[in-house]
């Protein structure tokens, strides 16, 4: 990801923020980021949220009997269609 070196407003910077967050890009030399405490804080907070998101909702297994339910439903559907 390349950083646009020209000066920009907070609004212009924040339009690009979704590309920066979670990308690992080093913004320390970004002309706006370097000088704007508001955007720095916003970036840090969104990074914190994106980082925390990776630990959310760990994969879980469904109950063992779920396949029995699915199998029964499939058999009902197939039997119904074949009977028709």
């Amino acid at each position: 990801m390349t950083i646009d070196p020209k000066p920009m407003s907070c609004e212009e910077f924040q339009e690009q923020l979704s590309d920066f967050v979670g990308s690992g890009v080093d913004l320390e030399n970004h002309p706006h980021f370097r000088d704007c405490e508001i955007c720095k804080q916003l970036y840090r907070e969104l990074e914190t949220i994106a980082e925390a998101a990776r630990r959310l909702f760990p994969d879980r297994q469904p109950e063992d009997n779920l396949w029995d339910r699915i199998e029964s439903a499939i058999k009902r559907e197939d039997g119904f269609i074949e009977w028709e």
Binding site: Q14, L17, S18, D19, V21, G22, I38, Q41, L42, R44, E45, L46, E47, T48, I49, A50, A52, A53, R54, R55, L56, F57, P58, D59, R60, Q61, P62, E63, L66, W67, R69, I70, E71, A73, I74, K75, E77, D78, I81
Partner: protein, 231 residues
């Protein structure tokens, strides 16, 4: 397209499905003419998929065992309720059984199944009370959902770790379109182009919705911080 049907399986046939014989598989192929690229390798899953498409019940059960964890987890993330997530997982695999014959391999099977499951979840969310609208409409920005700009509030990044349960609750409270993009990108790790393909939206739309979802979560977490919920 004929619907998949249950077929009686001998124990030998079942055993060969769980441990496909690669050499025998290769012998069945026609030799490739000179100058043509070699055919793609037939993976065990591709073979299982082909059998399931032909109506092999054991193969379909095997597909379930390969994908149940991912599909159930997706449903659970989207609805946040075990019973509903199991119902949705069941519905997703029933839909898969109905439609598996239509899978043509234009995308990876797991991506196709993921998309099918997402559609099942979306249908469910709409039935539960979301306005009847297309996903694109549901994801269109509205004037009251712009970025939160409560600058000057405590910096979340300086509060140490965010409480997982607080964040999970905040994710659960997001509007469905935002929640879907956030879960797919930040939780499940899909890229924007993959999400755009799954949801029939533009990459720009996916990026925009993700950004707004994160901003909403930031606002929710700041609120929790003020109440003392965030550690």
């Amino acid at each position: 397209m004929p619907r998949p049907r249950f077929q009686k399986q001998t124990s030998e046939a079942s055993a060969s499905e769980t441990a496909p014989d690669k050499e025998n598989t290769l012998e069945l192929r026609d030799p490739a003419p000179e100058g043509t690229p070699p055919p793609p390798e037939i993976t065990p899953e591709a073979e299982i998929l082909a059998r399931a498409q032909a109506g092999d019940h054991q193969a379909f059960a095997h597909l379930y065992s390969l994908h149940k964890r991912r599909i159930y987890s997706l449903c659970l993330r989207m609805v946040g309720n075990v019973a509903e997530a199991e119902d949705l997982t069941q519905e997703a695999f029933l839909q898969l059984h109905r439609k598996i014959g239509t899978f043509r391999g234009d995308s990876a099977f797991s991506t196709w199944l993921h998309r099918l499951s997402i559609n099942v979840v979306l249908m469910h969310l709409r039935k539960k009370g979301l306005p009847q609208m297309s996903l694109d409409e549901a994801m269109e920005p509205s004037c009251d959902e712009g970025p939160g700009r409560s600058f000057g509030a405590p910096d979340l990044s300086l509060t140490g770790s965010i409480d997982r349960l607080v964040l999970e609750r905040a994710v659960a409270a997001l509007p469905a379109g935002y929640r879907l993009i956030f879960v797919l990108h930040d939780v499940e790790g899909f890229e924007h182009n993959e999400i755009a393909a799954m949801l029939d939206c533009s990459v720009g739309n996916s990026k925009s919705q993700l950004h707004k979802a994160r901003l909403k979560l930031r606002d929710a977490l700041r609120l929790s911080l003020r109440k003392g919920d965030v550690k």
